[in-house]
């Protein structure tokens, strides 16, 4: 078969997805993977973000740690410098690899348990010493908690863990505030009792004194002395009831678990805030709203009472009308958040509608939507591929709602985004976490971590965050920075291999959605392997093919590079349906880029317009300068050349006008003080406190110049150390010694 016929067969496959003739191979069973993933066959040998440790009782930021970072912490503590330390380091790093392998095989448990399990494997060998050393080293573990690999369970577990941390912090704050208020309110009641008739009875007085000393006092005589309480000692009945009610509400609330060591005050126990569908969460929120209002109202009343600021005439009517409309996000932020983890199979159309309603309502509900598929066969058009509208598109829709925290990411990126996830869980309003975890059952030879991370690499499930708390504009709120090479259509990496002549070849390779789909054996029909002998120049890599205009794509066939289990390179040509999906994927990515400020069409248009205007302006300036230079070069008749040699700058009207002499402010004949400079030293007010007075800022001014004599004005000016009193001219011509006083006043004019 000649080359043209071979290419014809490839082209037919690209157009129809059908293999005609025997030159193209199906890829089913070949166990191929994208060439860029050739180096990631055994993840257990790599130190990377997974597995993670969900650390219990950690401070913020350290509640989700990678196994490697925990091991590094241990090594810093136990491995000294030198040969001994190096030996221990090697043992511990081997143990880390062992734990990673255990987890990859499905082992679960806390890190300390897995550590012991892995150390036992070393003990069972011929040399028991490393195992024993490692068991001993395990005691240095400071961070312990559940160990999780990147898998189907990860998103819900991580989110629940971070959510729990936030709730613990909220409970701590609440108990500190409510406890302090309860102590203050109890103090008020106790003080009232001590001052009451009841509190001053002999029995009460006796009960307030320690046992050994009760016999040395005459409590009856003491009671007689104290019997008459003062009028101010009585606690108003309304206030007593209010305080007692506030204490009762604070003690019986069910939103926060009772602190350790205290008896629960409510039989029913604390409320549950974890749900697996939106409707249940909303129903629980509605049911508890009256209690939320009561507790918020009580906290305010208790605060006012504790500060002694409750004014019944003013506050009673307002608190009587206190309803749900008075509660804003900041008030709600003090209460526990609701967490809804929607299982992947349950995200159907009714749930979607409810979810969007919840997000739009502004309720403090955090929702996890886990996505298993980003590509699926279109239910409308047979044989075509559709992006999973049920899950993957939710986040894009949610960012259109105001004040909703939205985070979309693949599960492989959750460790890197742990602080942002924490921020979303802790924020006051609603939050949506859309996480791609990959299918629950394996559909490729790739481990779940690589499936998740390649979905993000291929822009099939891009990562983004929209955080309303970060600012008021898109530039502050929206971020694409967690994607690899976010400014490019596809991330590019270098691939190095040996060619047939064993020469080292290195080339840049983009990772497109076609590469991602090639990892999924369910979509193997969209690819066909081309034997090396049939490779030709009309075959283009998918990113290059997509970059062509439609007319230039004719006659070209896109392919992806893949490797088999022996790391031999293969070219897989791609059918048109998948390339159509790839084009859609790229366009959706570009829309996201625009939101993230990358290649923003509005900004680029504005930039182009401004650049054109700037260039035109410069052209005009250049032309006028050129004209001026030419005019200067040709001397005007009757004018000396020297006078015109230098181009004159246009003279502005202001400059051209003769300088206006600014009339000097005529000194006033009235006395005055530079009040702003007064240091309140009392010198002047002691001379005459009707003539000199202090203003609202305790600084002197002349209140009444006629309330004293000119002599007093002059003496005040002389006594003022800052010399800011100006006596002016005499106001009463008949005052004795005026000539001398006028002379003395001259320095203060």
């Amino acid at each position: 078969m000649d080359m043209a016929a071979r290419f014809q067969e490839q082209f037919v496959f690209h157009l129809t997805g059908k293999r005609h003739g025997g030159e193209l191979d199906a890829i089913d069973g070949l166990n191929l993977r994208p060439a860029l993933l050739a180096g990631f066959r055994d993840l257990t040998r790599l130190r990377y973000d997974f597995p993670v440790v969900l650390v219990e009782n950690a401070i913020r930021g350290g509640s989700v740690q990678s196994l490697s970072s925990v091991i590094d912490e241990v090594l810093q503590q136990v491995a000294p410098r030198g040969i001994e330390g190096e030996r221990l380091r090697k043992h511990v790093l081997r143990l880390e690899r062992e734990i990673r392998a255990l987890v990859a095989q499905g082992a679960t448990g806390w890190l300390s348990e897995l550590w012991t399990l892995a150390a036992a494997r070393f003990t069972s060998g011929p040399d028991e010493t490393p195992g024993k050393v490692l068991e001993h080293t395990g005691a240095a573990l400071e961070s312990d908690g559940e160990v999780l690999d990147c898998g189907h369970q990860l998103p819900a577990r991580v989110l629940r863990h971070l959510w729990k941390q936030v709730q613990v912090e909220k409970a701590r704050t609440f108990h500190a505030d409510a406890g302090a208020l309860a102590v203050k309110l109890s103090d008020i009641l106790r003080a009232a009792f001590v001052h009451s008739v009841e509190g001053r009875r002999a029995e009460s007085l006796k009960a307030s004194v320690g046992g050994p000393h009760q016999e040395i006092f005459d409590f009856t005589a003491m009671s007689n002395l104290l019997r008459r309480p003062g009028a101010g000692d009585q606690l108003h009945e309304g206030r007593r009831k209010r305080i007692e009610h506030a204490l009762s509400v604070l003690r019986s609330q069910r939103f926060f678990a009772t602190p350790e060591g205290k008896q629960p005050t409510h039989d029913a126990g604390p409320y549950e805030f974890l749900f697996d569908d939106c409707a249940s969460a909303v129903q629980a929120f509605r049911d508890r709203l009256p209690q939320v209002l009561e507790l918020a109202r009580t906290m305010s009343i208790a605060q006012l009472e504790a500060d002694g600021c409750y004014i019944e005439a003013n506050h009673d009517p307002l608190f009587a009308e206190f309803d749900a409309s008075a509660l804003g996000p900041t008030d709600m932020a003090t209460f526990p958040n609701y967490l809804v983890c929607i299982a992947p199979g349950r995200i159907d159309a009714p749930e979607n509608v409810m979810l969007m309603e919840v997000l739009a309502s502004g309720l403090p509900i955090k929702i996890l939507v886990q996505t298993e598929e980003v590509l699926e066969d279109s239910p409308v058009s047979e044989g075509h591929l559709a992006f999973g509208a049920r899950g993957a598109q939710l986040a894009s829709t949610a960012i259109g709602l105001d004040n909703v925290f939205v985070l979309q990411s693949s599960s492989s990126n959750l460790y890197q985004l742990r602080d942002r996830v924490h921020g979303g869980v802790a924020c006051a309003g609603p939050a949506l976490f859309s996480i791609f975890s990959g299918p629950p059952s394996p559909v490729s030879s790739l481990p779940p971590y690589l499936t998740a991370t390649t979905a993000m690499q291929a822009r099939a499930f891009p990562a983004f965050t929209c955080d309303p708390a970060a600012g008021t504009d898109w530039a502050s709120r929206f971020s694409l920075e967690d994607n690899p090479q976010p400014e490019a259509d596809w991330p590019v990496d270098s691939l190095t291999y040996s060619d047939e002549e064993l020469q080292r070849v290195s080339e840049k390779l983009a990772f497109t959605i076609a590469d991602f789909v090639a990892t999924d054996r369910r979509y193997a029909r969209h690819f066909a392997r081309v034997p090396r002998s049939h490779w030709n120049t009309n075959m283009l890599r998918t990113d290059e093919w997509l970059a062509l205009d439609t007319k230039d794509q004719a006659g070209k066939v896109p392919y992806v590079l893949a490797v088999d289990e022996d790391d031999v390179l293969h070219r897989l040509i791609v059918d048109g349906k998948l390339m159509q999906a790839a084009r859609r994927c790229r366009e959706m990515w570009r829309r996201l880029q625009e939101l993230g400020g990358i290649h923003n069409s509005h900004a680029e248009r504005l930039l182009a317009r401004e650049r054109t205007a700037w260039e035109e302006q410069k052209q005009r300036e250049f032309a006028s300068l050129k004209d001026a230079t030419r005019a200067a070069a040709a001397p005007a008749p009757g004018v000396a050349p020297a006078a015109t040699a230098t181009p004159q700058a246009p003279v502005s009207t202001a400059q051209a006008a003769p300088a206006q002499a600014v009339p000097a402010e005529k000194p006033s004949d009235d006395p005055y003080i530079e009040t702003a400079r007064c240091s309140s030293c009392n010198e002047c007010t002691l001379i005459n406190d009707r003539m000199f007075a202090y203003d609202a800022n305790q600084q002197a001014y002349i209140a009444d110049a006629d309330a004293g004599t000119y002599r007093e004005l002059v003496e005040a000016a002389e006594n003022c150390q800052l010399s800011i009193i100006h006596p002016g001219k005499p106001r009463k011509p008949g005052e004795p010694g005026l000539d001398e006083l006028i002379k003395r006043a001259e320095p203060f004019a």
């Binding site: 500190a176 206190f322 150390q721």
Partner: protein
């Protein structure tokens, strides 16, 4: 972000105070004394920050300066010589909700109270400190103080003092955990008010040295600075003081200084002529001692009683075995 409705309700009927609400009596200082200017400025700060008088505390030691709490209609503690800081620290520790101000003089703070001063800086508790520095012991009729200039003739140094003056700014800036240092002069009241406002708003130990006149015993000491504005160097910065246009006409000698630069602050602190006025250093990141020592568990009466019982049980001798067994059970 809007204020939560509950906070609005709490603040709805908040009282607003006038200057008179803080004026506690007629000051007995000499006329022309710089203490009057300090009193006027701090009363303005209290009014403008709307501090509740019953939540405000002025603590002082001994000296002319330390009479200031008497003239405030707030709580006050006129303490003993040099011990204003320990008293203020105790108050802040027990009642962190109070606004604590300390008024101390150059003798009270820099001589007998110097040890307390150094450690108060280290503690960095949230309080505003005004060091009234008139370079002399005035209440006891003119003795040399630690900040008296070399050669000052006084009752204790009739031939002139022989030691160079201590610089309170340099000392404060040399202590660990320093978080706010400023210098004001009583004859520029506008700047003194701004500095005191900034000092009050800073969370931590805000140390303001106020150079003040003593017209009775050192009447000529600051005359050159009073009559020549060029001898006063105003420090301005977007994160520090912003000098008004009116003031800039008189005080043209200005310099931009970033209050976060401690090295430059130390250089400026050592200047004597021109006299630097403004915020020399500010670091809001330094932790406050009361926050570090804040108990994790609230000290309720029940908690304290339980603690006492537990401690006493350690040394209790139980008379018979049965009682002990019952107790253990």
């Amino acid at each position: 972000m809007t204020m939560p409705a509950t906070q609005c309700l709490i603040r709805l009927h908040q009282e607003h105070h006038s200057l008179e609400d803080y004026q506690g009596g007629v000051p007995r200082w000499c006329s022309g004394c710089g203490d009057n200017a300090i009193l006027a400025a701090i009363q303005r700060v209290c009014r403008d920050e709307d501090l509740r008088p019953e939540k405000t505390m002025f603590v002082s030691g001994i000296g002319c300066s330390s009479r200031l709490p008497h003239y405030m209609k707030t709580y006050g503690f006129h303490g003993i010589h040099g011990r204003a800081f320990p008293v203020a620290e105790g108050i802040k520790m027990a009642r962190p909700d109070l606004h604590v101000f300390v008024n101390t003089g150059d003798g009270d703070c820099c001589s007998i109270g110097a040890a307390h001063w150094i450690h108060a800086i280290r503690y960095n508790m949230n309080m505003t400190v005004m060091l009234h520095d008139n370079h002399v012991y005035g209440l006891t009729k003119k003795q040399a103080s630690p900040t008296s200039p070399l050669g000052l003739k006084s009752n204790t140094t009739p031939r002139g003092s022989q030691l160079a003056a201590l610089n309170p700014l340099s000392v404060t800036l040399g202590v660990q955990n320093v978080s706010f240092v400023a210098q004001a002069v009583d004859w520029v009241p506008e700047v003194m008010y701004d500095i005191m406002s900034a000092a009050f708003r800073h969370r931590g130990f805000s140390f303001v040295r106020i150079i003040q006149r003593c017209p009775e015993f050192l009447p000529k000491m600051f005359e050159p600075w009073l009559h020549d504005p060029q001898k006063t160097l105003l420090l301005s910065h977007k994160d520090g003081l912003q000098i008004s246009a009116g003031l800039s006409k008189t005080y043209r000698n200005q310099q931009e200084h970033d209050p976060s630069n401690i090295d430059r602050a130390r250089e400026i602190a050592s200047l004597e002529d021109p006299l630097p006025v403004g915020i020399l250093y500010r670091n809001p990141q330094v932790p406050c001692y009361e926050d570090l020592r804040h108990p994790a568990q609230m000290r309720t009466p029940e908690f304290i009683r339980a603690g006492f019982e537990a401690e006493l049980d350690k040394v209790t001798v139980w008379p018979d075995q049965d009682a002990q067994t019952q107790r253990a059970a």
